[in-house]
């Protein structure tokens, strides 16, 4: 999910101005941090679905599409232009002629065909295969029934024709880092895992396992004048407290902040001017399983939403590093309804609803949750006294993050607290409530409403984006009213950066992924960065 | 002398010692007891003497059932004491008991004297509190302690008193045979006399049979009726106490006796090691001089016991 200048002005509260257009400065080293774990699993980006590795992909690789956060939609990256057939199924791409791989090979249609086949290769079991599945014939290939993907057709060296399974926007699938394009002339595929070769602005230089990846400026990058930096060191630093010390100690240039440090940094005059914020497209909340009898009653589900003082939790516990949720679709979603009011904090009404539903003395339920500080057990702790006041007893059931995924997707819970992607594509976000979506896919609360299904199916068919948004907005409001979840918050991602760093953008998909080719550092940077 | 109550016949005990090969699989056998035969009569005190490692303790442990014999039999009043028909620990307990060398290690520091004495009684089916009380009282008096002392723990007693408790414990089940393992060697000089006197008194009083293990020949002479001299797992000489101390026949026995520094002898000169090499033994039975070659480290492998006087046996080289 790549690049480009932003604003989403409403979202970037208190964001520092990023000087662009003038004063760009070449050279220097950026010390970037990888906060999601203490190692890079692999340098073979097609093999990794994780944000952690995407931090490297962003420097080294490019995919057919990229995310434009200005327009809030995917745009062409490796093709200069495309022709779309009238039924919307066939796209003909005219590839960039100046794109060159780090090993010197110019980009051709073969490379894309090669890459997509490698990703979908059943022997590899790569996570990106499901994205390739939007191409016609990919499923047969994935299942091992066909030696080729029938929808991929090379017209000439620089022209590629792709037939999709329907009139969808392929950008959402083919902009993923797991669909990055590799050169087709590398004999030993296993070397991708140790010596990645891509089309990106930086060339892989060194990997110290468990410590850092170093990349170096690629002189033949296809965008004129980019990148500015000579080197980027992407260092692994999973522990918040350590990152805090290192950042204050000016050992690293950027740091993703947790709620606590967000509050601290906001109060610190030396740090508060260099924070970058964005509303990310994840919705957090407690999903309620209708298998538990009380949850079958809409009034009970609503009562839970009324009983919890959501803004207070966001303010006090998450230190405002989140936006209280009004419904499923997040703030940055095109289908977000600004006028829809969230559930008010109204314990009396909650109590009344419970009585009405036949639970005047409340009931007891279990919340399966991971240790995450923003959407885990601490939140359950906070709602515990609140629900107690309306008579509901909450029992936290702590599990490891991995086990949470396991139990939710196998419908093994009374309720769960999780963070679920709800964008950027509102259609796929709302699919989670479509009755035909399997429970294990994303309809975790086994939601089924004929009214919703009607709206959703209409939206699926609708080709006009604004009309589609209207339909989805309506569907979203329906879900909010039905309350299969306690809607908690949309994440606010915050990144602190050193004053000499310029060109960072607030990307709603994942703030930690930054357009490295636009970042530059100025002369106030310490000697170690020059 | 009455008929023997305990009979040990051709007893062998071997220990396997792990060797130093790659897998520790090769085993050396240590022949701790090698063909020991003797019997113990009612009311008799039989002493086994010898230096450390001669097998005297192993022999005693085998009789007590704490060590399995490799070969040979032990019988008590005609009943087998070893093998498949061996008695259980419980049954054996009423026949043989033991008094230990170290009075400090032989009493459980966490048990009062009363507990130490009453638990065996209970174990053996005597449950009436009054009877237990009575027997403990009698036994404590027998060994020269007062019943009031029964509630104390071992650390409240001196070495001599502990040894008395140890004797009381050995006698509480009224066994016929008591094994005395160096009963006084760990005690102070002034206490030894008391314990030796006590043991001799008890033997008379309760008509006990003692099997005493000792290296202290003066104590052995004082207490024993018969003596068994062991050397490297074998009996080299056995006989009545007078025979052993008055007319020791085997050179090893002589050497042992000669080595005792004695107040009366003032300064006894230890035998010159060289004179040990060849000793000529007058043998009445064969009418010839038999050459006995007592090796310093090992008894001769080809050897046998011969009777040179009534019940006085000596091991000679049969080559």
């Amino acid at each position: 999910m790549l690049k480009t200048i932003t604003t989403t002005a409403i979202l970037s509260l208190g964001m520092a101005t990023t000087v662009l257009a003038s004063g760009e400065h070449y050279g220097g080293t950026l010390i970037f941090t990888a906060p999601y774990g203490s190692n890079f699993a692999t340098l073979d980006e097609q093999a990794s679905p994780n944000t952690q590795e995407e931090l490297i992909a962003q420097a080294i690789h490019r995919a057919l599409y990229s995310w434009d956060s200005t327009q809030n939609k995917p745009v062409l990256e490796l093709a200069a232009s495309e022709d779309v057939s009238s039924d919307g199924n066939v796209h003909t791409y005219h590839l960039r002629k100046n794109a060159i791989f780090h090993n010197g090979k110019p980009l051709t249609a073969d490379d894309i065909v090669y890459s997509y086949k490698r990703i979908a290769n059943p022997k590899n079991a790569f996570p990106g295969a499901s994205y390739i599945a939007v191409i016609q014939g990919a499923n047969e290939y994935i299942a091992g029934k066909s030696p080729d993907i029938s929808g991929l057709k090379k017209i000439d060296e620089n022209t590629l024709e792709i037939t999709y399974t329907g009139p969808i926007d392929p950008g959402f699938s083919l902009m993923q880092n797991t669909t990055a394009i590799y050169p087709s002339n590398v004999k030993d595929e296993s070397s991708f895992a140790t010596h990645p070769v891509g089309l990106g602005p930086f060339v892989f230089k060194a990997h110290v396992p468990g410590s850092q990846v170093v990349v170096e400026k690629f002189d033949k990058y296809y965008k004129e004048g980019k990148p500015y930096l000579d080197h980027i060191n992407i260092v692994l630093m999973a522990e918040d407290a350590t990152r805090d010390v290192a950042f204050r100690n000016k050992e690293i240039d950027v740091s993703i902040l947790g709620p606590t440090h967000y509050e601290i940094y906001q109060k610190d005059p030396a740090l508060k001017d260099h924070l970058l914020e964005v509303a990310e497209v994840y919705t957090r909340g407690i999903g309620l399983n209708p298998a538990l009898k009380p949850f079958q009653d809409k009034r009970v589900r609503q009562a839970i939403n009324y009983a919890i003082n959501t803004p207070l939790i966001v303010q006090r516990l998450i230190k405002n590093k989140a936006y209280p949720a009004t419904g499923w679709l997040p703030l940055s979603s095109p289908a977000f309804d600004k006028n829809k009011a969230p559930y008010a904090f109204d314990p009396a009404k909650a109590k009344a609803l419970l009585t009405e539903a036949g639970y005047p003395d409340g009931f007891e339920f279990e919340v399966t949750a991971s240790p995450n500080e923003s959407w885990g057990v601490p939140i359950v702790e906070a709602i515990l006294p609140m629900l107690k006041k309306v008579g509901i007893t909450v029992k936290p059931k702590p599990v490891e993050s991995t086990v949470l995924g396991d139990q939710v997707t196998t419908n093994n819970f009374q309720s769960f607290l999780w963070s679920i992607p709800s964008g950027p594509d509102p259609l796929s976000a709302m699919r989670c409530f479509y009755s035909k979506t399997p429970q294990s896919a994303c309809n975790f609360t086994s939601y089924a409403s004929s009214e919703f299904d009607k709206l959703f199916e209409a939206a699926e068919q609708e080709r006009d984006p604004s009309k589609q948004s209207d339909l989805l907005r309506e569907a979203n409001n329906l879900v909010q009213d039905d309350a299969p979840y306690w809607f908690f918050n949309y994440n606010k991602a915050v990144m602190a950066y050193q004053p000499w760093v310029h060109g960072l953008v607030p990307d709603a998909n994942e703030l930690a992924i930054q357009p490295y080719d636009q970042i530059w550092i100025d002369e106030i940077a310490p000697a170690s960065r020059k | 002398m009455t008929a023997p109550i305990l009979r040990v016949e051709d007893l062998h005990v071997r220990f396997s010692m792990s060797g130093g090969s790659l897998f520790g699989s090769s085993r050396h056998m240590l022949h701790a007891v090698n063909g020991v035969t003797f019997s113990l009569a009612k009311g008799e005190c039989l002493s086994i003497v010898g230096e450390s490692g001669c097998g005297k303790t192993t022999t005693a442990l085998t009789i007590l059932g704490l060590q399995q014999p490799t070969e040979g039999t032990i019988s008590y009043r005609g009943q087998p004491f070893t093998g498949p028909n061996a008695p259980t620990r419980m049954q054996r307990a009423k026949a043989v008991q033991m008094v230990f060398q170290d009075p400090y290690a032989s009493l459980n520091p966490r048990q009062t004297v009363r507990k130490s004495l009453s638990a065996p009684l209970r174990l053996h089916g005597i449950t009436a509190a009054s009877e237990i009380e009575a027997r403990i009282e009698v036994m404590l008096k027998n060994v020269g302690l007062t019943p009031e002392q029964a509630n104390r723990y071992p650390h409240e007693f001196s070495g001599g008193q502990r040894q008395r408790i140890g004797i009381a414990r050995a006698l509480i089940l009224e066994p016929e045979i008591v094994v005395l393992d160096e009963p006084v060697s760990a005690l102070d000089l002034s206490i030894r006399a008391q314990i030796i006197n006590l043991l001799l008194d008890l033997k008379e009083q309760l008509s006990l049979s003692y099997l005493m293990i000792s290296h202290d020949l003066s104590v052995v002479e004082h207490m024993s009726d018969r003596v068994l001299v062991m050397y490297f797992g074998e009996v080299v000489e056995s006989g009545g106490w007078q025979q052993i101390f008055q007319t020791p026949a085997h050179p090893y026995t002589r050497r042992l006796i000669a080595a005792i520094p004695n107040v009366d002898d003032r300064i006894s000169t230890p035998p010159n090691p060289k004179s040990r090499d060849l000793i000529v033994l007058k043998n009445a039975e064969f009418g010839t001089d038999t050459r006995v070659t007592p090796d310093v480290f090992r008894p001769p492998s080809q050897s046998k016991l011969i009777e040179i006087a009534e019940q006085h046996w000596v091991r000679i080289s049969s080559v």
Partner: protein, 311 residues
């Protein structure tokens, strides 16, 4: 000596096998799979097809017995398997990081030895004195602080406030980066060693041969040099070995806190994402490390103590 060495090494084989079995069994019944771990960060949509395909691909839906057979067969060929996540041989992942672990453990042990030996000695020479009491309470205090807490405190003091040392990471393996994690990790063994040294030296000082040495007319310094030091070492060296052997396993938290690229942090991460081959491989390597150190200690022991039977 050679046979002794060989025998000592062979003796560790059953231990390794049983350890491998225990590790395999435990991690075969752990809930959660690598596939579901992909959902763990709450940033990805669940894809049941992908999960099914991954499980199929990684052989996770085969019966347990079959998986164990494969595992053991691989082990017999010195093959630790292939990581679920990186698709690389586990052995490569481990060799990439073992050096960092080794450096950290060695530095921590050095720190522990340098501090603990003199402290233990001094305390033993004046048992019951104020110096002794203070030293021992100090040592025990070091043992009573949660490691991550100590690490954080050191980090705040030496990196942030005083700005003397870098706060984290391996850097290019420079000494400065090593100091804080090594001290944090070394405090616990330091405390134990100080106590062992004290006990060991006291033990030796009370032995009869020290009285013999004094009776020979030897000065205190010579007694220390000729008789106490070496004999105390024999008592200390087992503790040193056990400590050094378990340090790699103990370092898990320190590595996580200081972003140190050792196998401890690899292990914790792999457990979290259920990358079972890596978990099994890493634990096995930690076990082997422990056994190797302790075998080495036994050999050193045999070399300095003539009483140990030599093959």
């Amino acid at each position: 000596m050679f046979i002794f060495t060989i025998r000592r090494v062979l003796q560790t084989i059953p231990t390794v096998i049983v350890a491998a079995l225990i590790i395999f069994v435990i991690f075969s019944v752990v809930p959660g799979t690598f596939a579901t771990s992909l959902l763990a960060d709450g940033k990805r949509a669940a894809d049941p097809q992908l999960i099914a395909r991954l499980n199929e691909e990684l052989g996770l839906n085969k019966p347990l017995v079959e998986r164990f057979a494969t595992y053991i067969t691989n082990l017999a060929h010195f093959n630790l398997g292939t990581s679920f996540r990186t698709r690389q041989p586990v052995i490569n992942l481990i060799t990439d990081r073992i050096w960092a672990s080794f450096i950290l453990a060695s530095a921590a042990m050095m720190f522990a030895l340098i501090v603990a030996l003199p402290l233990g000695f001094i305390a033993a020479l004046r048992p019951g004195s104020i110096v002794d009491t203070a030293t021992m309470i100090g040592a025990v205090s070091g043992l009573s602080v949660p490691e991550f807490w100590l690490g954080l405190v050191l980090m705040y003091i030496f990196a942030l406030q005083l700005n003397w040392l870098p706060s984290f990471g391996y850097g290019d393996g420079s000494f400065q980066n090593l100091i804080l994690p090594a001290i944090t990790l070394g405090v616990a063994p330091m405390a134990l060693l100080a106590r062992t040294t004290r006990a060991g030296v006291l033990d030796v000082l009370h032995s009869d041969f020290i009285r013999t040495a004094h009776a020979k007319g030897m000065s205190d310094v010579k007694v220390m040099r000729w008789h106490v030091a070496r004999n105390a070492l024999v008592l200390i060296i087992t503790t040193v070995g056990l400590q050094f052997g378990s340090l790699v396993g103990q370092a898990v938290i320190i590595e996580k806190l200081f972003a140190w690229p050792g196998i401890g942090s690899l292990l914790v991460d792999s457990v979290a994402i259920r990358d079972i081959p890596v978990v099994q491989g890493t634990i096995l390597v930690i076990v082997l490390w422990f056994l190797a150190i302790n075998t080495a200690v036994d050999l050193i022991y045999a070399a300095i103590d003539p009483r140990i039977k030599q093959g």
